[in-house]
């Protein structure tokens, strides 16, 4: 009976093209509006590394006087989201987690091998070799540098596949050199296209931006006195002038992540952090006992307000609009159903029970929902294209429509149409077949 009801639904919808078009438009516009905002919302709030988001932890240490109340804006505590050089390197030396990395965003002036191309600036991330396995960075050629190269401040780099396409025309560059800031760096690896959204490992700098194009050992970057291209925050005291003063100051500019695969490992690391803070106080660095915090990826995104309140409100408003559209569609469906009361009465007289009429009408709602879903998808694509054209490239990265989004739109559309069709369908089942005879 499924195909029979489907055929009946299509015939019925073709009977009154204008009414059908209005119903499909009502659902399509509602789906288009809600899916446009939902797609952006999902991209903002999605888990960027679902397999490990509960094992990766951002580290915070309250190195600033709590009385200054200069924590992250809107955060529930008084902590900075980044660490000092002192803390970042101390935690690296302690090696208390199975994997850990301190890092910061920086950059180079790249001189391409082709003398016809002028040097240009490239953003880079100074980090440790653990960065790559921790964040599951895929490689096209080669791999990460070694721990020994971290230790030895080696002049090596990993580059992105996009940069490799530009500089080496996509060929395997492992072993070749790249001139950065006038020094030759040996390429040890090329990452595959990798673009976690949001860029959770550094939410202080360009939350929805692209990953850096070059990765360089942290130790090499510090040795080369490479300045940060990201946030650099100090609490009044900026320290002694010069590079050494910067490294010994209480200014924060490093992100620090630890991989802690088990609850025990988390507990041990938390104890280690508290002991570290306590030792620093006893050594006279602080007059207060610094708070410490470990937050996994989801908690870190929440803490950093990756999804803004206005985005949440926008989703709410767009779904309210969908609700209004559905009410309109329901009214139109009701009008259509009542217009078909005669046919329904005849079917009842010929032996259709209420369940059969219910199924037939519900199929019609489903077909309207499918058609509305297709229209909604087109409108969503149009809406997202409009957002891409209007907003910055970084925000534009949130507007890509995935297979999951298409599935959500289709399910939402059919589900919404069926919900909207429930009342008209129920009314259809209440049609009394005797009316057909008496109406004559």
């Amino acid at each position: 009976m499924f195909t029979y009801y489907f055929n009946l639904a299509v015939r019925s919808l073709r009977r009154n093209v204008v009414l059908t078009a209005l119903m499909i438009a009502a659902i399509g516009v509602g789906i288009g509006a809600s899916m446009t905002t939902l797609t952006v919302f999902r991209a903002m709030s999605g888990d960027p590394i679902p397999q490990k988001s509960r094992q990766l932890f951002a580290v915070q240490i309250g190195n600033w006087d709590p009385q200054t109340k200069r924590g992250l804006f809107g955060s529930p505590d008084n902590l900075q989201p980044q660490l000092t050089y002192i803390d970042a390197t101390a935690l690296m030396k302690a090696h208390a987690a199975s994997r850990q990395t301190a890092m910061y965003t920086t950059g180079f002036a790249l001189t391409p091998p082709n003398p016809d191309v002028r040097p240009y600036q490239v953003q880079a991330r100074a980090t440790y070799t653990d960065f790559f396995p921790m964040f599951q960075v895929p490689f096209r050629y080669g791999g990460p540098w070694s721990a020994a190269e971290d230790e030895n401040r080696a002049e090596v780099v990993v580059i992105s596949t996009e940069l490799n396409d530009k500089v080496f025309a996509g060929a395997n560059p492992v072993g070749k050199t790249l001139n950065l800031d006038g020094r030759d760096y040996r390429v040890v690896g090329v990452t595959e296209h990798w673009s976690p959204t949001p860029k959770f490992y550094d939410l202080n700098n360009d939350t929805f931006g692209k990953p850096e194009e070059i990765y360089v050992p942290f130790t090499r970057a510090i040795e080369s006195q490479m300045l940060t291209w990201g946030n650099y925050n100090c609490s009044g005291d900026v320290g002694e002038p010069g590079w050494k003063g910067r490294l010994s100051s209480e200014c924060v500019w490093f992100q620090f992540w630890a991989e802690l695969p088990t609850a025990d490992a988390v507990a041990r690391y938390r104890t280690f952090l508290n002991n570290y803070a306590s030792d620093a106080r006893q050594a006279g660095r602080f007059r207060w006992l610094p708070e410490t915090r470990l937050r996994n990826v989801r908690e870190w995104m929440e803490y950093n307000h990756v999804v803004t309140t206005s985005a949440r409100i926008l989703v709410l408003v767009s779904f309210s609009f969908l609700f209004v559209c559905l009410l309109n569609a329901m009214g139109l469906m009701l009008a259509k159903t009542m217009g078909r009361a005669a046919d329904i009465g005849v079917r009842r007289a010929l032996g259709a029970n209420r369940h059969a009429i219910f199924s037939q009408c519900l199929m019609e709602s489903g077909v309207i929902g499918l058609a509305g879903g297709v229209l909604g998808l087109l409108l969503t694509a149009l809406g997202l294209a409009g957002l891409r054209a209007l907003l910055s490239e970084d925000v534009g990265r949130l507007t890509h429509f995935s297979v999951a989004d298409v599935s959500i739109a289709a399910a939402l559309s059919v589900g919404a149409a069926i919900v909207a069709g429930l009342y008209p369908t129920w009314r259809a089942t209440q049609v009394q077949p005797a009316w057909q005879l008496k109406a004559q």
Binding site: Y4, R11, V346, A349, L350, G351, N353, A356, P433, L437
Partner: protein
């Protein structure tokens, strides 16, 4: 085949109770062709809707093909309607979206027949009413007489035990009406049980027996039976 005993049907509002049928008894036997006549508002159509299980009754008993229908739920009534009753409406009531064969197919779908069985029955029913060549036509492309023949084919396709016809020629001109009535008589000669509601005395005389209803009651139940060739004539 159809037996109603002291049956009543009342329509109630908060202030008034109106009886459409009161103490109504009738017995139609297998193979009879009965005309039910009466003035407008006498209860003819109410009788037909109750007989066709389209409406419930208030009191009394109704047995259809030996089965007591009182208290049956919607599913059971729908199944009985589909299996045992064929309807022929005054206004034909064909479904405009469906062509002739799909209209005839409607009760067969609800019966659950497979495709081959449905196809066989459709061809047979349309052949019987002389419309095999019009199976792909839509109702709007047919004359009134042809539409009524399609409705009769639809009523026959499920091999019902009882045909209920409500003013089957009411919307037809004289020539077409004659053709439809000839067809009903032919079906009766072939053994069909037919109950036809009509207010036209000239049509009623074509039936084997006439039952007259006034104010919801049978007033001339003992009307003279009329001999019809090949039919089993009986009184209620």
């Amino acid at each position: 085949m159809l037996k109603m005993t002291h049956l009543s049907k009342a329509y109630r509002t908060e202030v008034v109770e109106t009886y459409a049928l009161r103490d109504f008894s009738i017995h139609v036997r297998q193979g009879e062709f009965v005309a039910v006549t009466g003035p407008s508002g006498s209860g003819k159509t109410t009788f037909l809707t109750i007989a066709g299980l389209l409406e419930e009754f208030t009191g009394g008993e109704y047995q259809l093909d030996g089965e007591n229908v009182r208290g049956l739920n919607d599913n059971q009534r729908s199944r009985l309607r589909n299996e045992k009753i064929g309807f022929i409406f005054q206004a034909f009531n064909l479904i405009g979206d469906l062509n002739v064969q799909d209209n005839v197919d409607v009760p067969l779908r609800y019966r659950g027949f497979n495709a081959a069985e449905r196809r066989r029955r459709i061809q047979e029913a349309l052949g019987r009413v002389g419309l095999s060549a019009r199976s792909r036509h839509y109702p709007a492309e047919l004359s009134g007489g042809q539409q009524q023949r399609v409705a009769i084919a639809r009523a026959l396709a499920g091999s019902p035990r009882l045909l209920l016809a409500d003013e089957p020629t009411g919307n037809l001109d004289t020539q077409m009406a004659r053709g439809v009535l000839d067809l009903l008589e032919e079906l009766h000669r072939d053994g069909a049980t037919i109950v036809m509601v009509t207010h036209d005395p000239e049509l009623a005389v074509r039936a084997q027996r006439e039952v007259h209803i006034v104010d919801g009651q049978v007033v001339d139940l003992a009307a003279q039976p009329r001999a019809v060739a090949g039919a089993n004539v009986a009184n209620a």
